[in-house]
């Protein structure tokens, strides 16, 4: 393979953004979970909610910090590696990214300080407000970034000037481009699902160690409630998203399903080995006509195949096809886990069902894998375009050299490996200790400024203590 600056830039962007999305996927959901926990604590005065809040906020702090620092990278990398894209896209999506900074990033960053360190500085209601604002900020951030990405998937509300430059003519059409609402829903549900699976896994792990740990039992029930409802909803949102791809990005849909020929009554390929060189599947295991039924809602519908597009306009098929199957396969497993968990909650004996607990632990990382796989489908499926139909990825790259990008890619991989390894270790260590671990057992000398370094039982108002 010829490693030129373009390919290296694509690898670097894919690596840094895939790494980054892991953290927002988790913190969007976790911020809401924390707001719910704190709200329930304030409403019920049930100490278990506060114990869970003070436990999960530590994990939130680590994850959020990693999300912030890897996110700062993105706002510069668009320019360092994709300067042609920046100059072309800014007249239309520039304001969307600026609004993300103004409406979300400052809100999150400022109130995060109050949330993490203000436990004793502000009253409980104000502290809850800070938590809620951080949660709101994470959702607003998702709104703008999915809006910008959706515009790149299917540009709307713009004109092309004689000079070739793009101009927005209808901002609402730009912000709410046709695929945006469903894709935002799909991403936010994915974030909630990811978080619920992590909370469920950590709680199940504790229950395997100590079936009587009430706080973990409570958290597990909350997690099951979340993923049992959200996983089936996500299937519907995903289906709607697929229908939009059929309409607006038929080449992507053809790649997702490895359809080569345009025909009515497309077969559904459960698994296949798509080969771009021969423009066919080397082998496939298929169900007749189901492909048309799933993608268009009609078993006889005619669906375009990849051969309907010029070879240089076809996305990479193998990666898109398989990433989609990984995502959907995990989604189905999540629905199954939700049914199993729902049944256990209904019939009782949750903490005693060790196989369910083990399965829940095993599914802990499933959300992250599904999110990254889903983004691979979205982004690789859009290729060879960076702005669909308007700007090819090959034309968008910066005038940088192979040497520069080789070094930077290696540096990113090294640093990210270190912070990911260490961050995951610290998070798993906290999860292993569980919500009732005494602070001293965390093994570090707390600096005095660290609010959570106080005994978790110290209430901000003086009412109630942990027994």
């Amino acid at each position: 393979m010829h490693l030129d600056a373009l390919l290296l830039s694509r690898l670097q962007f894919a690596f840094t953004i895939a790494f980054h999305i892991i953290f927002p996927s988790f913190t969007i959901g976790l911020a809401s979970f924390l707001a719910v926990l704190e709200g329930l604590w304030l409403a019920t005065k049930n100490e278990a909610f506060k114990i869970l809040y003070l436990f999960w906020i530590k994990i939130f702090a680590i994850s959020f910090g990693m999300g912030v620092v890897t996110g700062v990278v993105m706002s510069y990398e668009i320019g360092t590696n994709w300067s042609v894209f920046s100059a072309a896209a800014a007249p239309v999506i520039g304001p969307l990214l600026a609004f993300e900074v103004l409406t979300a990033f400052f809100l999150e960053a400022s109130f995060l300080g109050v949330m993490l360190f203000g436990w004793k500085k502000v009253g409980p209601r104000l502290h809850f407000t800070a938590t809620a604002l951080v949660a709101f900020g994470t959702a607003v951030s998702a709104f703008w970034i999915i809006s910008a990405n959706s515009w790149m998937q299917h540009p709307a509300g713009y004109v092309r000037l004689a000079s070739g430059a793009l101009r927005a003519v209808d901002w609402l059409a730009v912000i709410f481009s046709p695929t945006f609402p469903v894709r935002l829903l799909h991403m936010v549900l994915a974030a909630y699902l990811t978080t619920a699976l992590v909370v469920g896994a950590a709680s199940a792990w504790r229950l395997l160690k100590d079936p009587d740990e009430g706080e973990s039992g409570l958290a597990l029930k909350m997690a099951i409630g979340m993923f049992a409802i959200v996983a089936p909803l996500q299937l519907l949102a995903g289906d709607m998203s697929g229908k939009l791809a059929l309409r607006y990005q038929p080449a992507k849909l053809a790649a997702i399903e490895a359809f080569w020929e345009t025909r009515s009554g497309q077969a559904f390929h459960i698994v296949a080995w798509p080969d771009r060189d021969t423009a066919s599947n080397r082998w496939e295991v298929s169900i007749p006509r189901l492909g048309s039924l799933i993608t268009a809602g009609d078993a006889n519908a005619e669906i375009k195949g990849l051969k309907a597009f010029a070879p240089q306009d076809r996305p990479p098929v193998f990666l898109v096809f398989w990433a989609f199957r990984v995502m959907v396969g995990l989604g189905v497993a999540m629905i199954g886990l939700g049914l199993w968990g729902g049944f256990r909650v209904w019939r009782g004996g949750l903490a005693g069902d060790r196989w369910f607990l083990r399965a829940t632990v095993a599914m802990g990382p499933a959300g992250f894998v599904a999110v990254v796989a889903g983004w691979v489908v979205a982004e690789v499926g859009r290729q060879p375009w960076v702005i669909y139909g308007l700007l090819r990825t090959t034309d968008a790259v910066s005038p940088v050299t192979r040497g520069e990008v080789s070094v930077s890619l290696l540096a990113f991989m090294t640093i990210y490996a270190v912070i990911f390894g260490v961050g995951v270790l610290y998070i798993l260590r906290l999860m292993g200790e569980g919500p009732l671990a005494p602070v001293a057992a965390l093994g570090t000398v707390r600096p005095p400024g660290y609010a959570l370094g106080a005994a978790p039982g110290d209430p901000p108002t003086g009412s109630g203590t942990r027994s």
Partner: protein, 341 residues
């Protein structure tokens, strides 16, 4: 009446970058001073003084980058590839020091040591990289048809290295002044010693960078009345309030240190930064890529700038308001005991 949108946006971005330099400047400065702390517990206190606010401070950098992309996309597209290496270096260093805030608390003995070093090294390298970006920017960028057409290492020169060292001294100064303001006891006394040293270094380096800039950039030199072998005093006099402001900042900082004031050294150091910043602006306005691209040439479409201005008018006062509120919440001395609660 029609608004001069590019001019308004140039002002907004200039303020955002200035705020970034002042705000993240002192928390990067804490990292620069980390190796000189007397004990691990002093380091804990130093970090505690900025832990609740560093994330908000760094967001101004995102506004700087994102804002440049959104408001002056042609400058963004020209500068980022030209300054590729120092920008990536800055980002990587900021990652290491940013995660260190949490990781340092979670690590056991070995981990804590590692992340202490990472915080210090990351802060120093990020500052050096920002100095190289600034130096490379001042030197100018080779453009062809609006795109970078120079050499990947154009930014690296004795001049940019001088700017980088100067910025380390500058951040160390506001970091030390911040600690004087926000700590007490032994650390407070130590911070005053650091501030004296940093103040001397900044005075020398700021003067050196100022003169070097006149020599490196004849256009800047001409604006300041530098003719090659002497100053055109009439020309210099017009801009003299800027260096005088710097001298006043120096005076306030030095007098504050001498009289053992707590807040004045920080204020004086900030005034010195402001003067350096205004000095640069006076040398470059209206260029946003020095002597290659003016802010008008680099500006985004008017309808994009107008839409964003509506957002800024509503949101920026709110952002500034709640940022000040957060600083207010965490006001006061941070002690070695549980003074934070």
């Amino acid at each position: 009446m029609s608004l001069d949108l590019p001019l308004i946006w140039a002002a907004i971005l200039a303020i955002a970058v200035l705020l970034y330099v002042m705000l993240d400047g002192f928390d990067l400065g804490i990292g620069i001073l980390f190796p000189f702390a007397g004990s691990p517990s002093e380091r804990d206190v130093m970090m505690s003084t900025v832990a609740p606010v560093w994330d908000g401070n760094e967001t101004w950098l995102v506004l700087g980058g994102g804002g440049l992309f959104a408001a002056f996309p042609f400058a963004y597209a020209a500068l980022m590839p030209a300054l590729y290496a120092p920008i990536i270096l800055m980002l990587l260093a900021l990652i290491l020091r940013g995660v260190a805030f949490e990781f340092r608390l979670r690590g056991r003995a070995r981990g804590k040591r590692f992340w202490t070093i990472a915080f210090a090294a990351g802060s120093i390298i990020a500052t050096l990289a920002q100095g190289l970006v600034l130096g490379g920017f001042i030197q100018g960028v080779t453009l062809k048809d609006g795109h970078f057409a120079g050499d990947p290492l154009d930014w690296l020169s004795p001049y940019s290295m001088l700017v980088a060292v100067g910025l380390v001294a500058g951040y160390a100064l506001i970091g030390a002044a911040w600690l004087i303001w926000r700590t007490e006891g032994e650390l407070h006394a130590r911070a005053r010693r650091w501030a004296w040293i940093a103040l001397a270094a900044v005075t020398v380096l700021l003067a050196a960078v100022s003169f070097a800039t006149l020599l490196v950039h004849p256009e800047v030199g001409a604006r300041w009345g530098w003719t090659g072998d002497g100053f055109d005093l009439a020309q210099l006099a017009r801009l003299s309030p800027i260096p005088l402001l710097g001298a006043a900042g120096l005076g306030v900082a030095a007098l504050g240190l001498r009289r053992h004031a707590h807040g004045w050294p920080f204020f004086g150091a900030i005034i010195m930064f402001l003067s350096g910043y205004l000095g640069l602006a006076a040398g470059f306005f209206p260029y946003v890529v020095p002597y290659a691209l003016t802010f008008r040439e680099a500006a985004n479409a008017d309808n994009a700038l107008g839409l964003m201005l509506v957002g800024v008018v509503i949101l920026l006062p709110a952002i500034i308001g709640y940022s000040i509120w957060v600083y207010w919440i965490f006001r006061g001395k941070v002690g070695a005991d549980a003074g934070y609660h």
